[in-house]
Structure formats: C-alpha cells, structure tokens
C-alpha cells in the first residue's frame, strides 16, 4: 500500500553538493511518522478518505473539539490533521491508530523522483499593484508623479462599473500555494529529514503537504 500523501514541516533552505560537484539549492523538510486518525467511507461521509495526523501536541494547543475527536479512538493528541482521498479497497488494513512511515519502502518519497508540495505562502500584508500583480510603474522623475499608482481601472459610462476580479492593491500572500515537479534530492531517514531541490512555499516551521 502506498499512501498518497504526507505531511511535513519546512525547516529552512541551504545549499549542498551533488555527486557531480554542482551546488544544489535545497529545502530541508522534516517528516515525522503520521498517525491514522479516521477512516471515511461512502456510507458515512459520502466519499472515502483517510485522515492522518502529524506531530504530537499538548492539550493546550488543541480545542476541546479536536481533543474529543482524537480521544474517541484513544489516539495521541496531534497538531495537524489532514485527509487524503483513498479508495476503500486501496486503504487495505489501515485502521485508526496505525502509523505511516514516510520513509517506508513503498512511500511516495523516493530520491530522484518528482513531487508536488503544497504550503501556505508567507503573508506580505497589504501591497500595491506593482508588487502584488506586477503592474509596471510610471516614470520616477522628469516631473512625473505616477510612480507606483495603478492607473486607469476601466472604461467610463459603459459599463459604468469596475469589473469583478479587477487586479488591485490588497492583501498579498498567506494563501495556499502548490508547487509541482520538485525533485527529491536526498532522503535522510535517520534524521526524519528530506532534502527537496528548490524552494517551497511558506515560512520555516510551516506545515506542508506532499503528494505524488
């Protein structure tokens, strides 16, 4: 059984050397074993999936609702819960309380293979159109005052309104970002770490999801 996804934590970036001697930029990802917390099936939930949890937590970090959900199956308290779609037939003998080793033989993690990583991007607060959408700026001198202003936001009387979805200034970052096709550079099972080539969305210490 190959579990379809994993949860990890971004631990920072560095630069290491490949066997050819090239310097490779890598992101260090911490991958602890997952605990199966709930099986969802067609009868009860209308779809089949497996919910897993990552990293032990203290009771003060969880709501009573979260604690109740975990206590129901007498599971340890877990920081992050996440579900992955998996057909019941594929789920096999998995049951609540089982652990999934990210470095197992049949894991989706294999050095040299490609992987899809999802994370929550770094929040940048309120930003103007130049930074947020890549608007070009106006002249900075020669009497110009239109340095970083957005300019016209649409026609006049017809249609007499601003189109929905118009790109403007506003909150930037802090949203779900998926990066596909990142190469797994190296696995370090004894340290529960993996080195993934390239950058991964989010802050250091942020939770990320890995999928095939």
């Amino acid at each position: 059984m190959s579990f379809p996804g994993l949860i990890g934590k971004k631990r920072g970036m560095t630069q290491v050397f490949s066997e050819d001697g090239d310097a490779i930029p890598v992101t260090i990802v911490e991958l602890l074993p997952l605990t199966v917390t709930q099986l969802k099936n067609e009868q009860n939930e209308g779809y089949s999936a497996i919910q897993v949890g990552y990293q032990d937590a203290k009771a003060k970090h969880l709501t009573q609702g979260q604690q109740g959900h975990l206590n129901k199956n007498s599971l340890p308290l877990l920081r992050r819960l996440k579900e992955f779609r998996l057909e019941e037939s594929a789920a096999g003998a998995l049951k609540a309380g089982d652990t999934i080793d990210p470095f197992a033989e049949d894991s989706i993690l294999k050095a040299g293979e490609k992987i899809t990583v999802t994370g929550c991007s770094i929040g940048k607060g309120t930003q103007g159109g130049t930074k947020r959408w890549g608007f070009s700026r106006g002249p900075m001198s020669h009497g110009s005052k239109s340095h970083r202003i957005p300019g016209s936001i649409g026609p006049g009387t017809t249609p007499g309104r601003v189109y929905k979805g118009k790109k403007m200034a506003g909150r930037m970052g802090n949203r779900k970002v998926t990066v596909k096709g990142l190469k797994i550079f190296r696995l370090l099972p004894e340290k529960n770490m993996a080195l993934i080539q390239g950058a991964i969305p989010g802050v250091e210490g942020g939770f990320i999801t890995l999928k095939k």
Binding site: R11, G12, M13, T14, Q15, V16, F17, E19, D20, G21, A23, I28, E30, L188, K191, M193, L195, E204
Partner: protein, 161 residues
Amino acid sequence: MVTDIIKDIEQEYLKSDIPELSPGDTVKVGVLIREGKKERVQNYEGVVIRIAGHGTSKTVTVRRVFQGVGVERIFLLHSPKVASIKVLRRGDVRQARLYYMRGRSGKAARIREKVGATLPTEPSKKKKGTQAQKPEAPAEPKVPSASTETPSEQPAEATNE
C-alpha cells in the same frame, strides 16, 4: 536564518581540510576541470580580496592580473570542484574587502607580507575529508600534469598525496 538543523545537514558536505584564509593572502587553488570523461586539476593563483558566506556557501574571491588583464574568480570553498587550496603567502591588510586592488597596478598593487604569520604547515590534504565518495580522489594522479602548466610554482600538489 541558520538553524541547528541546517548546520547539521551542511556538516556532511563541509570539507575539514580548508586552511585558515584571510583577505590579502596569496593562494593557489586547484580547480577540477572536466573535459569529456577526463578530469584534471588546473591551478589558479592570486590574492584573496573577499571572503563571503558561511557553511556550504562560503566563497572566496581570488584576484590575479593575467596578461595585463585583471581576473577575479569566485570559488565555492567547499565545492568538490575546488580540489585543493593552499596559502602561499600571508598578506598584511587592514580591510576585509580589498576592492581597492582593482584600481591599482604595478608596484601599487603589492601587498605587504604579514610579519610573523605562519603558513599552514600541512597543505590541504583532500582525502582526509569527512565526506566520502566525492570525486576528488580520481583526479589526484593527474595533478603533476596540471602543475607543469605553471612551471613557476614548485609542484607541491604532487607531494600532497
């Protein structure tokens, strides 16, 4: 930010045999060059005018004047492509970044030798490194041929092995 986790991961990739370098030092860098399937080491000699970075990304900028043209090369110190690095002379300088060397030529471009400075007694021994399976070892026998290109230097590299 460099955390302990990052240091721990980098540790394995760091060379343990890099001599202490400081700006103003004259160094000889053995650069691994791959021509097709053959590997050889080419020496590059010059003055360290900058040391930057830390961990696996530590670099030195080495300047030399070659055929009247100033050349600066930046070496990733811990890269396997830098086969060896040897200090030939300690320079006495006051700045950390010797960019002023760029505007100088001839006698003005000299650097005073540091009085009482000690050179690392044992020049870099590559095989000692903690990192195994790095492709440095096979390049070793070809070193003497590389050092003949710069006959002004004694082929010290060959004796390193």
